[in-house]
C-alpha cells in the first residue's frame, strides 16, 4: 500500500510539472524562445538569405502566428468602429490585417536578421494576465538600440501577443487613424477592400 502511494506520488510529481509547463510558458520565456528559434532559422535558411519574402512569411506563419491574438489586434487597430462590424466583417478584417502584419513583420525580420536581441529583465506579479516583455535590438554600427516591446495577454490557450511596439510606436494602434478614415469614406467594407487590395499589390511585387 505504502509502495503504491509512493509510486503514485512520484508519478504525480513527474507528470504534473510537465503538464503545467506545456500550458503555461512564462511570457518572457515564450518571447525569447520564439525569437531565438525564428532568428536562428532566418540566419540559416538559404531562400531567406537570398531575400525570399515568401519563405519568410511561411516561417512566420508557422512559428510566430500561433502566439498572436489577431482578432484582439484588429479590434485595437480598428478602434470604436469595430463594434459596428458584424461577425463576418470582423473575420474578413482580421484575415486581411493579419496578412498585412505578417508581411510587414517578415520583411522586418529579413532586413534586421543580423542584429542581436537583448531581453530586458522581466518581472511579473502572480496572477497577472496582461504584461509587456521588453527587448532591445542592437544594430551593428548604429548608435542606439531599437526597443521592441511585446504586449501579451493570457487567455485559455496561454499567453498571446496582442501588440508589438517598435521604438515607442505600436504597429497596431498606428493604423487607427488611417483605418478610421477608410471607414468614414467607405464603411467597414471599404476598409476590408482597401486592405485586401493592399495585400494583393504586395503579394504581386514580392519575391
Amino acid at each position: 500500500m505504502k509502495l503504491f502511494a509512493f509510486l503514485l506520488a512520484s508519478a504525480a510529481s513527474l507528470f504534473l510539472p510537465l503538464g503545467v509547463h506545456a500550458q503555461e510558458t512564462a511570457p518572457d520565456v515564450l518571447v525569447k524562445t520564439v525569437t531565438n528559434e525564428v532568428l536562428d532559422i532566418i540566419r540559416k535558411d538559404k531562400d531567406i538569405k537570398a531575400g525570399s519574402t515568401k519563405r519568410a512569411i511561411e516561417l512566420v506563419e508557422q512559428k510566430v502566428l500561433p502566439h498572436f491574438n489577431f482578432s484582439r489586434m484588429t479590434a485595437l487597430a480598428v478602434g470604436k468602429d469595430w463594434r459596428q462590424a458584424d461577425t463576418a466583417q470582423q473575420k474578413a478584417l482580421t484575415e486581411a490585417f493579419k496578412e498585412l502584419l505578417v508581411r510587414t513583420y517578415s520583411n522586418a525580420l529579413i532586413a534586421y536578421k543580423n542584429e542581436t536581441v537583448d531581453y530586458k529583465p522581466f518581472k511579473m506579479q502572480p496572477g497577472e494576465t496582461d504584461v509587456i516583455v521588453r527587448t532591445q535590438i542592437h544594430q551593428p554600427g548604429a548608435k542606439q538600440p531599437i526597443t521592441l516591446d511585446y504586449s501579451l495577454e493570457k487567455n485559455a490557450q496561454g499567453w498571446k501577443v496582442y501588440d508589438v511596439v517598435i521604438a515607442g510606436v505600436s504597429l497596431v494602434t498606428n493604423y487607427r487613424s488611417s483605418f478610421a478614415t477608410e471607414v468614414r469614406n467607405g464603411g467597414i467594407d471599404g476598409l476590408i477592400k482597401t486592405l485586401q487590395a493592399k495585400n494583393k499589390t504586395l503579394e504581386a511585387s514580392a519575391k
Binding site: W82, E153, G168, V169, T173, N174, Y175, R176, T181
Partner: protein
C-alpha cells in the same frame, strides 16, 4: 550666428501660418493635424527631396564606406549630441541621467578617440535620446498641432519651438568657418539617413497611407520619448484633453486597453 537660423525658422513659421489658413479647408478632420493640406504638400516636397538627393547620397555613402568608418562617423556625431542630451536631462530634473551623459562625453572623448568609439556604451553607460521638445513636454507644454516643415520634416508645434532651441544650442552651429560647418551638417544628415535606409521598405509596405502612417508614428514616438519609453497610454490621440479627439479615434478601445493593463 544663430540669429540666421532664428530668422530662417521664423520666416518658415510665417509661410506655414499662411498656408495653414489656406490649407485649413483641405483637412480630413484629424484634430491633431489641422493643417493637413499644407502638411501633405510639405511631406511630398520632403519625400521628393529625399528621393532625388538625400537617399541616393545616403545609399552611396553606405555602399562605399566600410561599416567601421560609418560607425565611427555616427559615433562622433552621437558624442557631440550627448552634450545637449545631458543638458536636457538636467533641465528635465533627471540628474542621474545627466551625470551619465556627461560621463559618456568624458569617456568617449578621451579613451574613445574624440568620440570615434562609443566606449561608454560597452561600459554600460546607456545612450539617451533627449531634446528641447521633450524637455518642454516634460514641463507640461501641450504638443499642439502637427506640422511638416520643409527640410526639417515632422514636428508638433511644441517640438518646433524645441527645434529652434536645438539648432541654436547645437555645438556644430558654433563652427565659424561656414564651408566647414555646412559640410559637417551635410555629413550628419547623410549619416543619419543611412541609419534609416532599411526602415524605408518596411514603412512603404506597412502603410495604407504613408503620410498618416508617418504622422501617427511620429506622434506616438514623441510621446514615448517624453516618458522615456513608458507612456501612460499608447494611443497617439488620447493625450489630448479635447473630448472630440478621443471620440473620433475610438476612445472605447483605448479605455478597454488601459483598463486591462492596470
Amino acid at each position: 550666428m544663430e540669429t540666421t537660423y532664428f530668422r530662417q525658422i521664423s520666416r518658415l513659421a510665417v509661410v506655414v501660418a499662411a498656408a495653414g489658413l489656406l490649407g485649413g479647408c483641405a483637412t480630413s478632420g484629424n484634430p491633431k493635424d489641422p493643417i493637413e493640406g499644407f502638411n501633405r504638400a510639405m511631406y511630398g516636397f520632403n519625400e521628393g527631396l529625399d528621393k532625388v538627393i538625400i537617399k541616393p547620397v545616403a545609399t552611396g555613402y553606405e555602399a562605399v564606406l566600410p561599416s567601421p568608418i560609418q560607425t565611427g562617423i555616427s559615433n562622433i556625431f552621437s558624442n557631440i549630441a550627448d552634450i545637449m542630451i545631458g543638458v536636457n536631462n538636467l533641465l528635465q530634473g533627471k540628474p542621474a541621467q545627466a551625470a551619465s551623459d556627461a560621463g559618456r562625453v568624458l569617456v568617449n572623448s578621451t579613451i574613445g578617440f574624440l568620440g570615434l568609439l562609443d566606449v561608454a556604451s560597452t561600459m554600460g553607460m546607456e545612450k539617451h535620446e533627449e531634446d528641447f521638445g521633450q524637455t518642454f513636454g516634460r514641463w507640461g507644454m501641450e504638443d499642439g498641432a502637427y506640422v511638416v516643415w520643409p527640410f526639417f520634416g515632422p514636428r508638433t508645434a511644441r517640438d518646433t519651438i524645441g527645434l529652434v532651441f536645438d539648432v541654436a544650442t547645437d555645438p556644430l552651429s558654433y563652427i565659424d568657418h561656414v564651408a566647414t560647418r555646412n559640410t559637417v551638417w551635410a555629413v550628419r544628415i547623410v549619416s543619419n539617413r543611412a541609419d534609416l535606409l532599411k526602415a524605408d521598405k518596411i514603412i512603404e509596405e506597412a502603410a495604407l497611407d504613408k503620410y498618416s502612417y508617418v504622422r501617427d508614428a511620429y506622434l506616438q514616438r514623441r510621446k514615448s520619448l517624453i516618458h522615456d519609453g513608458n507612456p501612460p497610454k499608447f494611443d497617439p490621440y488620447s493625450g489630448s484633453q479635447d473630448g472630440k479627439v478621443s471620440e473620433a479615434f475610438g476612445e472605447g478601445a483605448t479605455h478597454e486597453q488601459v483598463a486591462s493593463r492596470n
